[in-house]
Symmetry: C2
Subunit: 372 residues, 2 copies
Amino acid sequence: MFDTTVSHTTGNDTTTEIETEIRKIIDARAARSGAYGVHFLELCDLAAAQLNGGKLLRPRLLMGAFDALTTERTVTAATRSVALEIAAAVEILHFAFLLHDDIIDEDLLRRGRPNLVGHLAGKTSSAKQTAMEQGISDARRLHWARSSGILVGDLMLTIAHQAFARARVSEEYRLRLLDLLDATVTETLAGEYCDVGLADGCITPDLELVLNMTRMKTAAYTFELPLRVASIICGSDHRLEQQLGSVGRHLGLAFQLQDDLLSAFGQSETHGKDPYSDFREGKETALIAYARMTHAWPSIEQLIGAEEFSEESGRRIQNLLIECGAQQFVESMVQDQIRAALSMLSAHDGVVPTAVSQFILTFVDALDGRRA
Amino acid sequence: MFDTTVSHTTGNDTTTEIETEIRKIIDARAARSGAYGVHFLELCDLAAAQLNGGKLLRPRLLMGAFDALTTERTVTAATRSVALEIAAAVEILHFAFLLHDDIIDEDLLRRGRPNLVGHLAGKTSSAKQTAMEQGISDARRLHWARSSGILVGDLMLTIAHQAFARARVSEEYRLRLLDLLDATVTETLAGEYCDVGLADGCITPDLELVLNMTRMKTAAYTFELPLRVASIICGSDHRLEQQLGSVGRHLGLAFQLQDDLLSAFGQSETHGKDPYSDFREGKETALIAYARMTHAWPSIEQLIGAEEFSEESGRRIQNLLIECGAQQFVESMVQDQIRAALSMLSAHDGVVPTAVSQFILTFVDALDGRRA
């Protein structure tokens, strides 16, 4: 690694840099995986291919914030290289969460394409070939595919932790990064636990709980983590890190609520999931939690998560969610959260540098209404 | 932490020290988990209770080796305290593997008692209470319990990595510990992947592959990891670390093969699993891989993993495995592996100190024929 001082690098293609960094981490690992047999190597290759398709929302946010934070001062190439490594690790952490989330939700698709489990259950690999030759039942093949998803998720969680643990920064910063990773992972798992408890009817739903779950499950690692990592690595004080963390929490909640709106009302071609899958699975979103408190609930309750779920049921639920005000409530919550973030970013207290505010505003504008 | 020099402490009750250390790690976390809601706190408490029941094989091996390695020199209390923290982390890592292993195997029991999933699916908790009040089906409750097992496994994997990442040793040693953890976790996951692929018929079995799987899945983290961690923390040279690692691999394979023998031929009261569960699930053990190459295979194949599996089928498979020589083959492999370990331990090349050899021999003697 070069230790020369570099100036701000917004001119670089950050996305390419992130992709290269992820590939570097995965390739180094694939080289070692051969020692564990051909089947495991094949699994690692498949995981690498699946990891490749993402929009890199989190690492792009991290690197954009890092570069904006360092416009007015210079950082060494070594420091920026640490930021890139952690940005790649954050994407790999995201992949770990997606893998286990898809297992829990029993999803075989992600962004409209077969996910890792769907791929293993449905496509030909040497292991699959063996299964077909031996006339293995679909149920056993699916069990094998799902088990593989659990194990690959564990591997990705390990890779992400290893990157944070090895970050070449001072011990103080390394411990701050590790604390942040710990809090973020715990919060995400707690959010996911709450989500599945609600969906399975094992936790009693109410609007506050559902909003907390939404914040914990996505906002923490999608927006707060990247912004705080960027602050720590470039040496910002605690006050700026905290402020950017709060901005991230507001934006993260807005992002997830927007995602819920898209799943409920958007075109499946846009959001890449089965149409009405949230309704079919009985997912407890803020939309549903709000609707529970209205006159429309008895009608929605009959339809949602029902054994026989038709497209007609889906359209009927959409109309009921609009009529009862749930859609409007969630839409205005999205706006509230964005407004809260913007007011923190544009406060004239000098905490958040202008370049950083501008980057975040541009980033959010580009996201608006799209699923990442 | 005190930084005074202490002499060798075999007189202490190491088991109590390890239990205290595990409790310290879990309690610190439980204190923070309250922030994520009452349901998550309850889940963490349950996980802590489940973690409590183990025989602490791995951390006891680690601390025993550490204390034996430091009989002839003095180490600081701070160094021994690092060893204890990592010993606790190794037990927590083991718990993470067990949790995901039980999900994959669809087991609800561990050591004859309900495991975490079995507990959540079957016992009363506030979340479960809600489910019962709402008349939630058993299938949804089981889905919730299994999802919780995946998430708690992730949390335990995180805790183990955090402990290694924060080990208060020199940077050189910390990186050696992290390299070792990385290799061990990857090897264990590769072994588990191979195991499930074999059990589901998605990977073609042969004896060599099955023995490799057995070594990867258990030997690496059960014996090699604790012995190498002890060497690294007390500052041994690479040669001793390598030698103890090899001893660990041999003992680990012997231990797992012995475990397979116990599952197949032992009393279920002793080994704490459903009797014949390996046969019922069609597990690909060295016993089965050997039997495949004999005249007994067609008869065994009809019985093993069959839809209708009776106690009679179990007894019949036992007899066939004895008749065809599989039992004897695996028993002599166990002896071979133990002999190889012993010859390394008693070699007069001065690599392994006598106190360490003696400790390991005593430890293995106490294990012999018992499931840990």
